[in-house]
């Protein structure tokens, strides 16, 4: 054993092969595609053993068969690489000889015969799959040029996998929605499993952990928040399998409603030790859109709307007083103005360095890596960075003849500094974009060293800020050091793979995922949000322990019938704790620490959840063309109600390789391959922790909705009450049932491949907090399994390889995915307000019958054809309700249904009823990929990401109308008429008595219309006006790779090959969206509702230079 380990280490020496050459057989050669393209990363090994090697980028390989086996007999050697069909040949192993054996492999677009991980420790070969599993391999992840977050790297990689990144800030979270949202609440994120072990992927903002930050609204402010799957170093990833539907993910039962992302990390391969050193530098810049006016001064239009709370009064602190808005006079020519957007951003850099050493021999393999990512963000100032350091050691050892032990240890240290942003008066863009164009934010401190915001430009003392700073100067924000996170995390597991009998395999995986995450979010003295200053400190720890044991038996009867039967047990424990303290009122300006505050409060939360599950699965292979599979998982969750402790999830699938009947299945001809498949599966979602339990409360407060609240323990006397929400011991998991049908087809000798999948998923028993009658029950609400929804969709992937010669290999691909969600039951209600957003009278996320989950509801203008009867200003009768449709019908020239109704003054009026304003889910997503390899040296590849539709609430624009800083307010000296020259794109058709009337004639009219009380502004006007199409086309990736493997390189550096890559990410965006970016979302992955933009930060585009040295 010891000797074997030693030999693995000494194998790293270049002379290793020579040392063994005396007695063994050296096997060398090249692996290419059948068109002659060298295949790097292919494994060549002696069948039935682990003796072999991996090819270099030029396709060459060399390994030595030890003398013990090189006895002159013949052996089969096999060459295998992803995407090509493996080939085997027989060679004679003569001691001391050198065998030259090259391979030419045919392309294998469906990866037939390749092993695919299907979850819970099981795997199969791809042709047997009756379900949809999308694979993303390491090359694609690396090409994504996004070292920060592996989820972001999934964008555009598979149909109906919709990725959103909160913003371009370092450490920003990303979320992924697979085949739409399966549930009506929560973020609907998939389960992440790394090397067989479920890991935590929570996104918890610091504000949420704080004493007073528990309301959803706060998550739109604060800082960027990482999602915890981003702790995995993408360079360590070998492959990602996305289990999309319930049929594929049913083996994970009640945790798999939203799909499962299986991550397999790299491992060591047999052969000489490989060393890879890669270094990547990103130059990031913010995608900025200039939507600010530069022509008008701070102030109110004479005769315009009085700016009642515009200033802080007549104190010198406020001088010069200009009010909050920029509806003042035209700036004199030559007045310097400032670009309040661009001045905040710079070129950021991300340096990502990875060293990987791996290798192995026939009994031992190892992989080790060190990765270091240093990201300096695009926002000016010192507090915008995120660093991640990780190392991993993975080893495998064969013990005896039938046991393999392996271990995998990963440690991650991630720490970030953040800038407050979003819906936050101490946020970056909120104050910046409201600033009048001629105010210089760059001087953010006065001579006395006090903050200098534009509404309070001459503060005399810290105390004076208590009245009216209103918004922070953005440069004060970027220099505020009080927002940090520090994480230490280890994800480790231990595996035993035991083959007690030739037909029986037993596998055990025992894994642990532990992290400790420490947060600080503080507001310094004079902050607009809290002039006295405040400090939030929060710690959260999370421990997941997972045990997964399977026994798998295979058997066959003749050549045409064989099968596998697997049973397994899964035990899982998740323990979470958070502890936060909040200090109010800083004593000294620094430190930003709890002990430096006047008063403190604390909050603690802890939870423990266990899972005990058993599963069984059988697979049957008939005539090597019909594959049947069926399984069941019996889940026991501690979170299920006591009367519903266990639940079964079933699945079944069938796949038929039709083309086995064609040309003997040799994959040639016009229709070279055809496979049809059908699958059914069930998955679930567990209830919230402790939702099934009844308990009392120490935190209920008594008071009104105005904010007055009395604790239940007053004057030191302990008071206890019942909880307002009653526990439901009959709570069972939500249940998703999904049917999917698909086909995989190859054409023209597999030059073209096409996959089509259709699915229909129905979610029942969806858990909603339902209002109950207090008089009858003594409680206000209860969790019930009452909601239902469906998701139906279609996925198409088409790839073609028009050229596959040695000098020119060109691949193109297109992927298409569409999903339609439809809420069918909300427990009797028509709307379930998710309380994600700005209130139902503005723009708010909600589930609405007949729509996808998480649409945006809010206020709209009155439109024709909605049977509305309300009073219309300017029409005789004062407060008498008018029949709008009758008024529309009276329009000269008639009206179109849905036309914007205009009152006699030429302006629209507000509909009193809350309406569905938009659906943030895209109508469909597409991606186009292309890869061109020239002379085996240069690869040019690109990814175009298309999202059609998907509405975004551009609340930023609405607010900036009020403040008169938006470029749309620049037209205040011209006349505006609905239906003619104002908002005609949004409202192409108008009707009613005001049609033809010029509604907006003077600057005063414009200001009255767009002001804080006006109907055309974002504060009191209908939010419908600010709903925009969030569709886009993004040049997501473009990369040029140069591969050098000249002998001269080897001689000079000792490294066998050098990859040089120039790439870009998010290089170009084509969109009609008028805000910073259609992908933004204030609360990131903490909300179900996407598409809420309230001073959200922009996304970044990156230019990447990377090189890797391999040996």
């Amino acid at each position: 054993m010891r000797k074997l380990l030693l030999s693995a280490i000494t194998a790293s020496a270049l002379t290793a092969s020579a040392a063994f050459a005396q007695s063994g057989t050296t096997v060398t050669g090249r692996v290419t595609s059948d068109a002659g393209v060298p295949l790097g990363g292919a494994t060549v090994f002696i069948a039935g053993t682990n003796i072999g090697a991996q090819t270099n980028d030029d396709g060459s390989y060399t390994f030595v068969v030890p003398a013990a086996r090189a006895t002159g007999g013949s052996s089969t050697i096999t060459a295998r690489v992803i995407g090509y069909t493996a080939r085997s040949v027989s060679i004679t192993l003569t001691p001391g000889a050198t065998v030259n054996q090259s391979f030419s492999l045919p392309i294998n677009p469906f990866r037939l015969g390749e092993v695919v991980v299907t979850g819970a420790g099981m795997s199969t070969t791809r042709e047997k799959l009756g379900v949809t599993i999308n694979s993303v391999d390491s090359a694609l992840i690396r090409r994504a040029a996004e070292p920060q977050n592996l989820i972001s790297a999934l964008a555009g990689k598979a149909p109906n996998v919709v990725v959103r990144t909160q913003s371009g800030e370092p450490g920003a979270g990303a979320s992924v929605l697979i085949r739409g949202a399966a549930s009506l609440t929560g973020t609907n994120q998939p389960l992440f499993v790394v090397d067989g072990q479920p890991i935590d992927n929570q996104t918890v903002s610091t504000a949420f952990l704080a004493v007073n930050g528990g309301s959803l609204g706060d998550r739109q402010g604060g800082t960027a928040t990482p999602n915890r799957a981003a702790d995995i170093n993408p360079s360590d990833i070998e492959a990602i399998e996305i289990l999309k539907g319930s049929a594929a993910s049913a083996i994970y039962g009640a945790r798999a409603a939203n799909g499962v992302v299986l991550i397999t990390t790299k491992r060591g391969h047999v052969g000489p030790t490989r060393v890879s050193l890669s270094s990547t530098v990103n130059f990031d810049n913010a995608r900025l859109v200039d939507f600010l006016q530069h022509d008008y001064a701070q102030g109110t239009v004479a005769g315009g709307v009085p700016d009642a709370v515009a200033t802080c009064g007549d104190t010198p602190d406020c001088a010069p007083r200009g009010g909050r808005t920029s509806w003042g006079a035209r700036l004199p020519a030559g007045t310097p103005t400032y670009d309040h957007m661009h001045e905040l951003f710079r070129t950021g850099t991300t340096a990502d360095n990875n060293l990987q050493v791996s290798g192995g021999n026939e009994r031992t393999s190892f992989y080790s890596s060190v990765g270091l990512t240093n990201q300096i963000g695009v926002v000016e100032g010192p507090n915008n960075k995120y660093n991640r350091a990780s190392f991993r050691l993975k080893g495998t050892q064969e013990v005896g003849s039938n046991i393999t032990l392996s271990g995998n240890f990963n440690y991650v240290d991630a720490r970030g500094n953040f800038v407050q942003h979003g819906n936050d008066v101490s946020g970056l863009l909120l104050g910046a974009l409201r600033t009048p164009p001629a105010f210089n934010n760059l001087n953010f401190l006065t001579e006395r060293g006090l903050q200098r915001p534009y509404r309070f430009p001459n503060p005399t003392s810290v105390e004076a800020f208590g009245c009216c700073a209103y918004y922070d100067n953005p440069f004060f924000v970027v220099n505020s050091p009080g927002n940090r996170s520090e994480l230490g995390r280890t994800i480790s597991n231990f595996n035993v793979d035991w083959r007690p009998l030739p037909w029986l395999t037993v596998k055990e995986t025992l894994g642990g995922d532990y992290y400790s995450d420490s947060r600080l979010q503080a507001l310094p003295l004079t902050s607009a949000n809290d002039a006295a200053g405040s400090v939030i400190r929060a710690e959260q720890t999370n421990l997941v322990i997972d045990h997964n044991l399977i026994a798998s038996a295979t058997g066959s009867r003749g050549q045409n019938l064989n099968g596998t039967f697997t049973i397994g047990q899964n035990l899982n424990s998740r323990r979470y704790r958070s502890l936060s303290g909040q200090g109010e009122g800083l004593i000294a300006p620094v430190p930003l620490a709890i002990e430096n505050t006047v008063s403190q409060t604390g909050l603690e939360f802890k939870s423990l959840r266990h899972i005990e599950s058993y599963f069984g699965q059988g697979e049957l292979n008939l005539y090597n063309q019909l594959y049947l599979s069926a399984g069941v998982r019996n889940d026991g969750f501690s979170t299920f109600g006591a009367s519903q402790r266990r639940h079964n999830f079933y699945k079944a699938s069938a796949a038929w390789t039709l083309s086995s009947l064609l040309h003997g299945g040799d994959q040639t001809g016009l229709l070279s391959f055809a496979k049809l498949r059908a699958a059914y599966g069930e998955t679930g979602r567990e209830p919230d922790v402790y939702a099934a339990l009844n308990a009392l409360s120490t935190i209920v407060q008594f008071g009104s909705g105005y904010g007055d609240a009395l604790k239940s323990s007053v004057g030191g006397v302990p008071g206890i009450t019942s909880s307002t929400r009653v526990g439901n011991p009959a709570l069972r998991p939500e249940l998703q049932r999904e049917f999917e049908f698909g086909g995989d087809f190859g054409f023209l000798n597999q030059k073209i491949d096409l996959s089509i999948v259709g699915y229909n998923k129905r979610s029942n028993d969806v858990i909603l907090p339902i209002t109950v009658n207090a008089g009858s029950t003594g409680f206000l609400s209860a969790f019930r399994n009452t909601g239902a929804l469906t998701n139906k969709g279609l996925e198409v992937a088409l790839n073609a390889r028009p050229f596959t010669s040695q000098n020119l290999a060109w691949e193109v691909g297109v992927q298409y995915g569409r999903n339609r969600g439809n809420v069918t039951d909300l427990g009797g209600a028509e709307i379930f307000d998710l309380q994600e957003g700005f209130g139902a009278s503005s723009a708010e996320g909600a589930d609405v019958l007949g729509y996808a989950p998480g649409v945006i509801i809010g206020t709209a203008f009155v439109h024709c054809g909605r049977a509305i009867q309300i009073p219309v200003p300017g029409i005789a009768g004062g407060l008498v309700a008018q029949d709008i449709d009758a008024l529309c019908a009276a329009t000269p020239g008639g009206f179109k249904n849905g036309a914007l109704f205009l009152a006699p003054d030429g302006l629209p009026i507000t509909d009193p009823q809350v309406r569905v304003l938009g659906d943030p889910h895209p109508r469909y997503t597409m991606s186009y990929t292309s890869s061109l390899k020239i002379m085996n040296r240069v690869t040019l590849s690109g990814l175009l990401d298309v999202r059609k539709g998907g509405d975004v609430y551009n609340g930023t624009r609405g607010a900036l109308y009020v403040f008169g800083t938006h470029v749309d307010t620049d037209r205040r000296s011209t006349q505006g008429q609905y239906g003619v020259n104002y908002d005609t794109k949004k409202y192409p058709d108008v009707a009613g008595p005001g049609k033809g009337v010029v509604g907006l004639q003077t600057p005063e009219d414009w200001e009255r219309w767009m002001s804080i009380v006006g109907t055309g502004g974002g504060f009191s006007g209908p939010s419908e006006q600010f709903m925009e199409d969030g569709g886009f086309v993004k040049l997501r990736e473009l990369s040029l790779t140069l591969n050098l493997d000249q002998p001269v390189l080897k001689r000079l550096t000792g490294f066998s090959s050098l990859d040089l890559r120039l790439s870009g990410r998010n290089l170009k965006t084509w969109t009609n969206y008028r805000g910073v970016d259609p992908e933004v979302n204030n609360a990131g992955s903490e909300y179900l509702t996407q598409g809420l933009d309230w001073f959200a930060n922009p996304q970044t585009r990156s230019f990447v230079i990377s090189f890797s040295l391999n040996r």
Partner: protein, 447 residues
């Protein structure tokens, strides 16, 4: 054979792990570590006390204070409510709060514990809590779910307001009887009771004053109620020391609701002094003009806005004036005048010499002044006696006489009519048209 042994071992391991049947239950799996699963009667009593203070000191008191024209609405929602523009959202859950956390569900729970412990003194005190909660509910909302409350019955029926008052009287009678017991197992809350420190005599006096108060609320329908109120008032609170107050402190979320509303909740300017009331006080040279309001007469005085102001909710003054009015109504003008002057003396005011209708008016106006910020009691009297008969803020409209039910309660109980219909949104159908006035000759404009 060796392999067989492996298999047996494997089976044993599998069975060992799967037989661990308590993997899904026990410890932090079956008990929420963040919330208590049990409470003592004293702890539930303290929780319920906070809920009662909120019912008497938070939004219902502010809103009815505006409708009784002691406060005015300065801005935003309060400006609308003051001008009778309001909807079923205004009571912010106080209707449902009668039953939920800190309400009937916890009081009944505590009563069961006290009964089990044969702690009749505490049981009586908890019954007083029940009575003040449900009686106040009847005052604010009219007909109420009570006899079927907490029964789990879908769509529980509403008891007629008078029936609720009758039930409350019975609960209070039982409370008095329980507190009079001398069992060795009796253990009234001492430290847990920040108002009376477990003094059952004071709680008993409070019970009698509450009985008198609720009898007065039925007097429009039942003339005999005045005699009942008189009998109870004679046993009621007999000094300022017996006042039932909110024992607020200066700590965050423990402060007086009026302070919280103005300062931490940032609602300064919403609730301002009603000029008519300020003028009434000024016109009578009443020292409470400056006790209640600031020098300018625009908002509450500093003393009343102090975070730890011990806000009175049921007082000796109220009891004395109920006694006075009830005596007058039952024909004893001598006692009526004596009690009026006893209350005036308590505020350093000279004794009056009046009789007849003038005496009644004087009692009622004195009570209107004394009951300022006494929960919603000034509004209750105002509805009943129309004195002083201030003009409504909206000409042609009547002052609101009921609060709407919680919309969530309405949507989950078919017996609750829509807002603005039936018996909610105005006076109850069995309230007679009130023509009693303060002698101004104007018809009553309440309700």
């Amino acid at each position: 054979m060796i392999k067989l042994r492996y298999l047996v071992t494997l089976a044993a391991v599998l069975m060992a792990t799967s037989c661990k049947s308590d993997f899904l239950t026990g410890g932090d799996l079956s008990t929420d570590p963040n919330r208590p699963s049990a409470a003592t009667a004293n702890q539930l009593f303290a929780g319920a006390e906070g809920a009662i203070w909120a019912l008497l000191g938070s939004d219902p008191a502010r809103v009815t204070g505006m409708w009784a024209r002691q406060f005015a609405g300065g801005q935003n929602q309060y400006q609308s409510i003051y001008n009778y523009v309001y909807d079923e959202g205004i009571q912010s859950g106080f209707n449902a709060g009668l039953y939920a956390a800190g309400g009937l569900v916890d009081i009944v729970h505590a009563q069961q514990i006290a009964k089990g412990e044969e702690n009749f003194a505490l049981l009586g005190i908890l019954q007083v809590q029940e009575a003040i909660t449900m009686g106040t509910g009847a005052d604010l909302f009219g007909n109420l779910v009570y006899s079927q409350a907490l029964s789990g019955t879908p769509n529980p029926t509403l008891d007629d307001q008078l029936v609720v008052y009758d039930s409350v009287q019975k609960v209070l009678s039982a409370a008095v009887a329980n507190m009079a017991t001398t069992d060795a197992t009796n253990s009234p809350p001492t430290a847990a009771d920040l108002v009376y420190f477990g003094d059952t005599n004071l709680w008993t006096a409070l019970a009698h004053t509450l009985k008198a108060r609720f009898y007065m609320h039925t007097a429009e329908q039942r003339p005999g109620a005045y005699a009942q109120a008189l009998a109870e008032a004679q046993l009621g609170i007999d000094s300022d020391g017996g006042n039932f107050v909110g024992a607020f402190t200066s700590n965050a979320a423990e402060q007086n609701f009026y302070f919280q509303f103005e300062v931490p909740a940032g609602r300064a300017g919403y609730l301002i002094a009603d000029p008519q009331f300020v003028a009434l006080l000024a016109g009578r040279n009443d020292p409470r003009r400056t006790e209640y309001f600031n020098a300018a007469g625009t908002r509450l005085s500093g003393a009343r806005l102090a975070p730890d102001f011990q806000q009175p909710f049921v007082t000796y003054d109220e009891n004395t004036l109920i006694w006075a009015e009830a005596a007058y109504r039952t024909g004893d003008q001598v006692t009526a005048l004596a009690k009026l002057n006893e209350e005036r003396a308590n505020h350093g005011l000279a004794a009056e010499v009046v009789a007849g209708q003038a005496l009644l008016n004087e009692i009622l106006i004195e009570k209107y002044i004394a009951n300022f910020q006494l929960g919603h009691e000034a509004w209750n009297d105002f509805k009943r006696v129309c004195t002083p008969n201030f003009a409504p803020t909206q000409a042609g409209q009547k002052m609101p006489a009921r609060m709407y039910y919680d919309p969530n309660e309405r949507l989950t109980n078919t017996n609750i009519p829509p807002a603005g219909q039936g018996f909610n949104g105005s006076r109850n159908p069995d309230d007679p048209p009130n023509i009693v006035s303060d002698g101004t000759g104007q018809p009553c404009q309440a309700g």
